[in-house]
Symmetry: C2
Subunit: 298 residues, 2 copies
């Protein structure tokens, strides 16, 4: 028996050694360097609370250490900051070259509905009073205060600590889209371009459509840019989501100052949550459609 | 003079203190956590050289520690790894939910033309002999050896070290697209789905179109998926780039086994370098068009 057992053992070891010698092993394992960004916590005097802000800067340009960049301010930073960093980085690569390098500032939420709605309202998505006991709709109506925070605290902070050009974009989705358009209507001087992906016009009985009707003919929007879009919302839930976008688009076409650059995109085969992937890309391409690398300014 | 000077100083300090009290300061600054991925260096016996590989895994699922994931193998990792990580992460989020979480493996280049072309050739983009003294076209024709590296070394390495499902995708752009289709034709068993963004059919007098014509009627492609696309190449340079894609699409429609799922997308307003942003997204959506979260398998 002994020689046979020995043979078994020997052939087993031989197979093991053979397998080990075939197996590919890593010479070295380290961490891949994805983009690098800051997370700063600032105390807002306007909002009387701490806010977490994500900030992504392009890699330093060794040939131009004083290079300055336009800035994109993004609401719902926790949802879409990575996406916008990826788009601005890729589209500004030297071999892609469709827009300038850009600083991306992602504002994260504390009380989202409070900050991103223009009025206090208890009307739900279908225009009925919200009767749920614990409602995600409360509190609401703090958008003006939130915009004051952006204007008086966040923008000065970014412009003090980072190498910024004056050109600024405000971008948001859903309630964030509502806020972008509210900002354009009530503080048109604050940003140069606005991106509103599926803005929630349903808020408070279409409050923002009424405001737009009144404000659009009066406010200075020359050379400003606005991109707005929606997806399958109005189809999938038989709501007025899509017809509201059509009404807004018609208002802009009929009442807005002639020199506002605006584009409406409709993505009927996308959902409320897949749409940002396409819409944020298309919005950047629209804002920079006439951009040439060596243009002055942004 | 003294009191006046004192007053100047005093008012200067007062303004400084006032300004400091207004300025928003960060309570805390740290690094934002973008995705986390590995960079491993492995020695390939087939290629007789070290290769750097990027590997991104979904965040561990605390409710299912043995969860396994399909794997996307991406050529030109240095160009498109971040993009594919971003797409697979976003589209698999619980609130987006259009595809399963996925491991992304980015293969970076050493000698790109050598590895990603199926034959040795000196014919350039317009089918003329390449006469440049230092040519990016040399050496060429090593794709079979590169696919052997993927098959015998890289895939076993990934499956040994990471929690993989059997479902595998091979994705590439330009020469990488050529390689994806060459792999499907010559090793159809190796991957379940192939993504070929602007494949360089022009290589060696349309070598791969001729191969496709011969191979397509014979090879087993049941339940396999193929996405292929092109952009403005044929328009912008009056080459046969676009007509080659049309020929391939017609071959597939006429000669391929009935059960191959295939989709051709044409992006005439995109360039060779902007196209991957749209095409890789659309390819993932196509591969997973019928995916439901609780499906078994991938």
């Amino acid at each position: 028996m002994k020689p046979k057992l020995f043979n078994y053992f020997f052939s087993g070891f031989a197979i093991l050694f053979f397998a080990l010698s075939l197996q590919t092993t890593a010479q070295e394992t380290e961490k891949y360097k994805h983009l690098s960004s800051d997370l700063v916590t600032i105390f807002s005097k306007t909002l009387q609370e701490e806010r977490k802000i994500y900030i992504h800067c392009p890699r330093p340009d060794s040939t131009n250490r004083n290079k300055k960049y336009p800035v994109l301010y993004l609401m719902d930073g926790e949802s879409h900051f990575d996406m916008l960093c990826q788009y601005t980085e890729y589209l500004s690569r030297w071999d892609v070259d469709k827009m300038p390098e850009m600083i991306v500032v992602g504002i994260t939420n504390t009380k989202r509905t409070r900050d991103l709605t223009p009025t206090e309202s208890n009307l739900n998505y279908f225009g009925k009073p919200d009767t749920s006991r614990v409602s995600w709709m409360k509190p609401s109506g703090g958008n003006e205060k939130f915009l004051q925070f952006i204007k008086n605290e966040l923008v000065p902070y970014i412009e003090h600590h980072y190498k910024t050009q004056p050109y600024k974009i405000l971008a948001g989705h859903s309630f964030g889209g509502l806020s972008a358009i509210n900002c354009m209507l009530t503080h048109p001087e604050l940003f140069d371009a606005y991106i509103a992906v599926s803005p929630s016009f349903w808020w408070d009985n279409d409050y923002l459509l009424t405001l737009a009707k009144r404000k659009l003919p009066q406010i200075p929007l020359t050379n400003k840019t606005l991109f707005y879009s929606d997806a399958s919302e109005g189809i999938s839930d038989s709501s007025s989501f899509h017809t509201n976008l059509l009404k807004f688009d018609s208002l802009l076409t009929n009442s807005a100052p002639a020199k506002l650059n605006h584009l409406y995109k409709y993505y009927p085969t996308e959902t409320h949550m897949t749409e940002p992937l396409l819409a944020y890309h298309d919005a950047l391409r629209f804002i920079y459609k006439d951009w040439k690398k060596n243009d002055k300014g942004h």
